[in-house]
């Protein structure tokens, strides 16, 4: 795929998930990893890992995906692709002055969010089959989940501690 096709694909997928970073993962996985085979699961996870510890908008990690696929140009185009639909805000503001009732839109969005949740879980199962291939990886996964979700620790701290635990386990028992 050329950089423009990639950017256009990212734009459509980002619109479908309303610019939600995690919700975009399953769509990127199915499109670029499974269908096109031009991105590896490791690259996608790496891009998402960066996103979790990075400041700024949650979907900005598509710049990494663009970079892996087409270098700096790919990164820049991917970034433009996810920002461009923001301009729909301007006609929407004008529309809102006339129609303030958006019940239908709200109901649609609720269904979209719920579907996203199911999709993200499905995607983690399929990614996990490829990414969790050792006991060490499984332990790191559980540790990070406990720190990030249950203990609500800062993502950077969770990532650093989980990665360190992985390193230590690997050094102590390389065969795990």
């Amino acid at each position: 795929m050329n950089p423009l096709q990639v950017a256009l694909t990212i734009m459509v997928l980002n619109i479908l998930t309303f610019g939600n970073g995690p919700a975009l993962v399953p769509l990127l996985e199915e499109r670029f990893v499974t269908m096109e085979g031009i991105l590896t699961v490791d690259q996608l996870l790496y891009a998402f890992a960066i996103a979790r510890v990075m400041p700024g908008p949650a979907n900005a990690y598509v710049a990494s995906v663009g970079f892996f696929l087409n270098g700096l140009l790919g990164a820049a185009l991917a970034m433009v692709a996810i920002q461009l639909p923001a301009y729909l805000m301007l006609p929407l503001l004008r529309l809102h002055e006339r129609f303030s009732d958006v019940a239908g839109v709200k109901r649609f969005t609720r269904g979209l969010t719920a579907t996203s949740v199911g999709l993200i879980f499905a995607s983690t199962v399929s990614i996990g089959r490829n990414a969790i291939t050792s006991l060490t990886a499984a332990i790191v996964f559980v540790l990070a989940l406990v720190m990030a979700y249950l203990l609500k620790w800062n993502p950077l701290l969770s990532l650093a501690l989980a990665a360190l635990a992985g390193l230590a386990l690997h050094a102590a028992a390389p065969s795990l």
Binding site: P26, P55, I127
Partner: protein, 184 residues
Amino acid sequence: MKPIGLKDLFVIFLKAGLAFGGGLGILAVLEEEFVTKRQALTREEFLTDYALGRIVPSGTMSALAADFGARFGGFPGSVIALTAMVLPAFTLSVSLSAAYVYLAGTPVLALLPLTILPAALAFIVAAALRLGRDITIPSVEALLAAAAFIGSLVFRISPALLLVGGGIVSMVILAFTERAENPA
């Protein structure tokens, strides 16, 4: 109230782009700058635009950047606001991805599947759990989430199709149930 120029827009949105915590971190900076500090927007204006921004399919903060940028600086203002907001994340993403490509084939990269990658997967699960926290069981939403999970994993239905279908099904069912709950 002092007028907000293009330079101010750049500084404000660069600051927002440096905020941690995704959308809410950015929102906090924008509220502080536009409402509290400069009083360029009332709280009500800010909240209405935020609600509308949630409908825009680009990410709520990008919608607000286009909105406030255009409001205070016309079209150039919106471009400056959007660019400044994504600049820190863009620079970091590209440099860290370049490091990944540069390290390919070295022992350092072989360690990633044992360290950062499983942790990243855990972050995705945590995000899904947080997004799903408001979903009660049983409800239309829980049903849609389960259907999407099975449809994607077992039947390999395209995520895009599931999303649009989920939105439409929810729009129809909720329209009926809400009408039954609050008869006009």
